[in-house]
Chain length 212, copies 2
DNA sequence: TGTTTTTATAAACACTGTTTATCATTTAAC
DNA sequence: GTTAAATGATAAACAGTGTTTATAAAAACA
């Protein structure tokens, strides 16, 4: 009696179809400009059908949110091969920024939007593996830096929060369009990517001076 | 013939009434949950009347955006009395964070939303006094720090961008609800304000070590 | 076969930003 | 003071949104 199994498969398939289509539309049109009706039209079903597979729009957002963290963790994977922890930290910064620029809408969903966090707060299950995993990668690298003599007098967790704050701030300012509107950047003709690289380099140099 | 003058006064008064009412509603309900109809109802006029005084919703947003930068600059005013530049820099960080928390919706409008920046990009007049003024206050303080021996080998502008990125990042993570969802913060029972203070202190200590 | 459960949808509800045609009031001109 | 033009305000409509509900078709089970 494989009917239940097949139905479960069909259901998952439909959910995937919806998510895939929604994500493609989000990349095309930006997050705020995609409606349930758009998604429904793209998969050639009626809008009401979407609600048979997802409770509401927030559940779709949250599902994509989870997928996005998986994507981010994948982007970090190659960096774990770098043995020098400070070099790895530096490359993690660059990779984080690359991810934010290449997947702008997804980055906003992961770290700028507050809906996913509110949804998470409503869940009973307070564990949040995807998010923790990314932050742990940073914390562990910083702990290893400390073993090599960097930022020795600092608390590992607090220092990680500091590094994350900086890197996120830089990405957020870029994605919201604020970077290019600072006077010096308006007048100079540096490209946004260059500004970000220089600012990151400045931060890295700052950290570099904290050895011993 | 003071008719034109009186009409201009009336017009400005109506615009102020609309803006004041809109801002009050934004503080109450959050930015996304305020509609033109809400504003119209609050001032006891029809929705269509709003469009006699503002081209569209974006123009209201932009007007509030300008007012918001005025408010931020006012918050910084008292700090200019502090003669020690590094102490002033440190206090500016605290003041910035206080402003972001106390005026959360306004902060999001000023630094998180991209609409105002897009609106600004569409304007012919590329000058943007309010925004420049706030950033200049930071740059000048950092330049004075450098004269006192701090971060001497760094470019003033790039260092300012770095400091702003960190501070904004911390505020943005707080306002989007991401701060409290880091594993250590979920498990520990530190309050968000305390986390922010500790992270800012970590950053200040980092900068402090860059003397000479 | 008949009955129940599942799946899909059209239509509706209560919203949104914005535009247009209409009406009343105020200003200007004679 | 009367008339014509400009202004101010609005009701109604348009096209869109997220979501719910009643209805019809299809599939699963007995």
């Amino acid at each position: 009696m494989g009917v239940r199994e097949r139905k479960a498969r069909d259901r998952k398939e439909m959910r995937d179809t919806i998510l895939k289509s929604a994500y493609r539309l989000f990349l095309e049109k930006g997050f705020d400009d995609v409606s349930i009706r758009n998604v429904a039209e793209a998969i050639e079903y009626s809008p009401a059908t979407i609600y048979l597979y997802f409770k509401d729009k927030n559940e779709i957002i949250h599902a994509l949110h989870s997928q996005g963290f998986g994507l981010l963790n994948k982007h970090f994977q190659p960096l774990y091969k770098i043995s020098d922890p400070f070099k790895r930290l530096s490359e993690m910064g660059k990779a984080y920024i690359r991810f934010a620029i290449k997947n702008a809408e997804m980055y906003k969903l992961l770290f700028v939007r507050s809906e996913p966090m509110e949804h998470l707060a409503g869940c009973d299950d307070k564990n949040w593996e995807e998010g923790d995993s990314a932050f742990d990668a940073l914390s562990q690298t910083i702990a290893q830096c400390q073993q090599k003599g960097y930022f020795k007098k600092f608390d590992t967790h607090q220092f990680s929060m500091m590094v994350w704050s900086f890197t996120h701030g830089l990405c957020a300012l870029r994605l919201s369009g604020h970077l290019g509107h600072v006077k010096e950047e308006r007048e100079g003709k540096r490209k946004l990517d260059q500004i970000m690289n220089e600012t990151l380099e400045t931060f890295i140099h700052t950290l570099e001076k904290l050895k011993q």
